[in-house]
Symmetry: C2
Subunit: 686 residues, 2 copies
């Protein structure tokens, strides 16, 4: 089906435009104009119920009136008429309908009902739908310009080998035009709209066996159909076709906007980070990084788990310009490496310059000279300590690219990849680099952004298919004792605990010594401390009875029991959590403990389950855990036991219990070798 | 002098080029070529001791051989010859010499000796020097092209009203060429090099009465001559000429590079932040933000202390595109404001669109239409809740700018300023916006960067002239008791303390009850805890004697006394510090206490002294202090007392003691109304 679907989507034999206007200044006037302008070779049927002719061509009254059933129908009619047209497409046996109209999920309950109608039509027929709210789908090779985006009124469409897919309709115009200005071409572009039927992932996946496409540029607003995106990403990795994504929603403000704009609920941003990383999709933070990053991604190998951190060398004819790249690289956690003494000696001998032992191979002193730049690059691209070379060229790049830009081009095919940033405006030199296949960047920020994204990228993780997502409600909460039973089954150490009925007048014999902690035991008061349901450091029987009485009076009569546990001491506290996300499925989370960690939002997330190496990475991700890793001669905590606990909790992803959420808070971390121990836990079933 | 200096720098009557080459492919061949190419109107004297003619013009053998003493000499000869030429300039009475050669401070002790020679020449004569390591100084109006930067080989030099000044020589070429591509012109550009004599600040200050300059673009690598920069910034603010700066060194890696590159020691980045903010200089993080930001800065009023946070409204024809700006704005702490119900009603009525109540005024549903965009902008630019409007235009901007770009232009002169980001590549529309004076941006990141920088900017703070900077050594440390004396004088509450000789066998009567803390008392063990010199919670006389003995045995015989203090309880701990920075002078610092705050590097810095409002801002800056501000119903700390303490410690900046550094760590913060109390202090005199 995929190949047939691809053909109906991107190179249909026949297309119809429902609602095609006679007025090219209107949005609905554009598709026919674009199709003719580009020279689409298939059959085109404009449909306009009120006119016999549009833009000088015969207009048909309806889809039913056409001499054939078109393969792909672009519906640019208003909402209600569009739904009618979709229904007709279904009846007639049209393969694909792309729907421009809005007024669906983003428009409240009424719109949701309209979406449901579209879904019903798909379910009842063989019709596949792109949209609604789709600005269209375009193939620059077949010239199937099924779009109403104003930026496609291009005299010279930039044909290339990239497929761009976007939740935002405007962005396909931005990518096309900005790409064109950089000599970057596209095989096709698609605005996926509300994804009522075909999702972004499914559309991309349908193109994977297209030999004319060798990379993907994604503009994401939501992870609505994460499963399809993941399937596509895995297949793309297997086909060695890189996928680069920009995703809106770093900020809460932006996520709030996504809700009102697309009707999609936006998840937290680090969930998106974890998901995309898990799929092996590289994520950039800048628009230019998205547009310029694919050539780099094509050649930077994926990082392997446990492999050494990739190492970058920087060579330049302008130290100030190069530092502009080093700064944003560092802020993204990518450090530039020092050349080894051997490499330094080789550079000195090859260039004749007394290059200083610094992270920057600074050739400024020589001015920009071909021989010197080439000699330095020849050494760097064969230096074993570097995985990637960044070449930063100063003012000579503008009018004298033969000096320091040509040597970069002449190193194409070298052992190590070179990426280039040119400090002045130097369009010709950039174009020459692009032609030669050298990844190049217009701004230091995009350069750093794309490099960091490429270096972070891994192979997609081979996970069992994602656990069926659970609805957030109705929920059932475990009480703490039930929660401990779950931890016991997972093999997670927890404090001994015994339950005592509220109202006892004599303390029973405890299976552990004082001091103890006493906590209200009930499923429905997860915030026990705030409710006055916790007493710590209780020292003896009398104090125990008094503590139980205070708790009873604080929490009210619905609580019947308290839980008693021996007090634990440890070096520090952490929070380990598990939950099933609506979009991406099971997640495991590790956070530093305490109020400061909460304020700093210092946590690490991964798709669950995770292995030990991944759990160790998570520990390294959480900055606050530095305090438990021997920071400033402090005693080190048992981080190995912590890693094992993260792994164990993450196994809930494949456990039978339908657990929606589990949280150990705190998990006490003892000194190295002494383990970790859970002293509170919360579990919610779905 | 300033006006005369300005003339000698930027529009000399006569110039000489020492070391001018006959070969235009060489760096030293460029200045004469550029001067002739641009049509410099003054007298030009090429000097080349080995040729009678260069580039077809008569060459002179030496400066002494010229028919007049030139006002400005650009010395492009190699290092030693350059020093000789400088000496000759001094002897002859040349006004300004600009020196290209390197091999000075960045080249170690030998280079420093060379710099000293240049300084001696300046001191002994009336000569002023730019450089060394200066790629030159250029005035695009007088056509004084005293530069060897390869990017100045421009057929059409973009003349404008901006002065660009840079520590990096390459950057003047980057700013010129990148500016030109955006229709941004310059009055002049200067590469200040090592600033052995004329500093960047002094050069800029000399141009302040130039009516042809109305804004400054600074590319900074160091704050070497902070005083001059501050003087300039104050005068620029008084003259209402905005100053926008990009400063390298956000990362430690970049600061390390600055050391090896320019020989300047780079300070910490938040010191630079504090200094620039204090001077009223706006700082951007992106290169495009620097190039595109000035038109915005010209019109955004400076924030007033205690004034409300400026409020931004965003209107768009593409929600996805607009969110690309909202995201980086939010990550820079700038939130987009909701329109009030009144404004929303006015927009709905004016546009006829049922705009949703969201932070984004989303006109997508209407397509791009002049009337609708204009109507929305008319409402927004008169809405009282907004200080700045951001208009984001989608694909129509490329070929149909009359739809949604022209309305922005037609609002020039409106009550509120509009800044524009165009989502597709749309050079013509951008040029039209620039011509109309509308701040416009090519990337969402630069747009957000410049807006955040402009909104943060304040009036320069009227401080007494900066305290003479103290050398970091020789230092004298106070012991803790002496340090308390200083706190007492500053009016900072501290724990009572009494000193006891080590070796006592009976505990003396204490002026406060047990439990107490016992600490080794000596100036030279500031890290008492690590040295085993602290015992806490000592409960009685016997324990006190035992604690003293343990401390004595840990810290050795050089320590003669211990300090005893009553134990303090509090809600939390902070660190308050003061130090005199080599570059910018006295600083006051506030940080959250404890190991996590150290790991997160959570602190706020200001130039000292500060007033109460500034101290309160500092408290708001430190994220960890949220924990003491009533976070999640926790008891609130006495943040007013904390603010007063910050103010008090910052007064060291104007105190008589030559204090180089003072640190209260920890300062215990008690519940609201109960004050704060210092329980340890460290003071270092200069």
């Amino acid at each position: 089906m995929s190949q047939a679907l691809r053909q109906f989507l991107f190179s249909p034999q026949s297309v119809a435009i429902v609602g095609q206007s006679d007025d090219v200044s209107k949005t609905a006037g554009r598709p026919l104009k674009y199709l003719r302008q580009a020279g689409f070779g298939g059959r085109i049927y404009p449909i306009n119920s009120r006119r016999k002719e549009v833009l000088g061509e015969r207009a048909y009254a309806s889809l039913a009136a056409l001499p054939e059933v078109p393969e792909h129908v672009y519906i640019v009619a208003p909402t209600e008429a569009a739904i009618e047209a979709v229904a007709e497409c279904g009846r007639l046996g049209v393969k694909v309908a792309t729907v421009l109209a809005d007024g669906f999920a983003e428009a409240g309950p009424e719109g949701e009902a309209r979406e449901a109608r579209l879904k019903d039509i798909c379910a009842a027929t063989h019709l596949r739908i792109i949209g609604p709210s789709s600005l269209g789908i375009v193939d620059l090779r077949s010239k199937a310009m099924l779009t109403a985006n104003a930026a496609f009124d291009e005299p010279d469409l930039p044909v290339g080998r990239i497929l761009a897919a976007s939740h935002s309709g405007s962005m396909i115009g931005a990518l096309l035009s900005r790409g064109k200005a950089r000599g970057i071409g596209f095989a096709g572009l698609v605005s996926v709209g509300n994804e009522v039927d075909l999702s972004l992932g499914e559309i991309c996946e349908a193109t994977l066996d297209d030999p004319g496409i060798d990379g993907y540029m994604l503009f994401l607003e939501t992870l609505r159909h994460a499963d399809a995106l993941r399937r596509f990403a895995h297949a793309a990795a297997a086909a060695n076709k890189p996928v680069l994504a920009y995703k809106l929603g770093r900020s809460e403000e932006a996520r709030e906007l996504a809700v009102s704009h697309t009707g999609a609920l936006a998840g937290e941003d680090d969930v998106a980070d974890a998901f995309l990383a898990d799929c092996g999709i590289a994520r950039v933070d800048t628009l230019d990084g998205l547009i310029e990053g694919l050539p780099l991604l094509k050649r930077v190998p994926r990082r392997t788990p446990g492999g050494r951190k990739p190492s970058i060398g920087v060579v330049t004819t302008t130290a100030g310009g190069a530092t502009m790249v080093v700064d944003p690289l560092a802020s993204r956690g990518v450090a530039v490496a020092m050349p080894t003494p051997e490499t330094l000696a080789r550079i000195r001998s090859a260039t004749g310059i007394a290059v200083k032992p610094a992270r920057l191979i600074d050739l400024t002193v020589a001015g920009a000279q071909y021989k010197i730049m080439k000699a330095a690059l020849d050494v760097l691209t064969t230096a074993p300590e570097f995985d990637l070379i960044v070449a930063v060229v100063g003012s000579s790049a503008r009018f004298l690219p033969e000096r320091a830009v040509k040597p970069i081009i002449d190193c194409t095919g070298a052992e190590k990849l070179i990426a280039a940033y040119l400090v002045p405006e130097a369009l010709q030199a950039l174009a020459a680099l692009s032609t030669a296949g050298v990844p190049n960047f217009r701004t230091p920020e995009a350069c750093a952004d794309a490099i960091a994204a490429a270096l972070r990228r891994r192979a997609p993780r081979a996970t069992a298919s994602v656990k069926k997502h659970v609805a957030p409600s109705p929920a059932r909460l475990f009480d703490e004792l039930e929660a401990y039973t779950l931890l016991d089954r997972l093999g997670i150490a927890r404090a001994p605990a015994t339950a005592i009925d509220i109202g006892v007048t004599r303390a029973p014999a405890l299976p552990f010594p004082y001091p103890v902690a006493v906590k209200a035991l009930a499923a429905d008061i997860p915030h026990k401390t705030e409710a006055g349901g916790v007493e710590l450091n209780v020292q003896d029987d009398d104090a125990l009875i008094a503590a139980i009485a205070r708790i009873a009076s604080n929490v009210g009569s619905r609580v019947k029991r308290v839980l008693v546990q021996p007090m634990q001491t440890a070096l520090g506290e952490v929070l380990v959590g598990y939950r099933v996300d609506r979009d991406v499925g099971p997640l495991v989370m590790l956070a530093a403990g305490g109020v400061l960690a909460e304020i700093y939002r210092d946590r690490s997330l991964r798709l669950a389950p995770v292995d030990l190496a991944t759990a160790q990475e998570m520990i390294a991700d959480v900055r606050g855990l530095t305090a438990l890793a021997g920071f400033r001669n402090r005693p080190a905590g048992d981080l190995d036991a912590l890693a094992r606990t993260v792994v164990a909790l993450s196994q809930l992803a494949s456990a039978e219990e339908p657990v929606a959420e589990a949280e150990i808070n705190p998990l006490m971390v003892r000194p190295k070798g002494e383990g970790v121990i859970a002293v509170d836990a919360l579990v919610r079933l779905s």
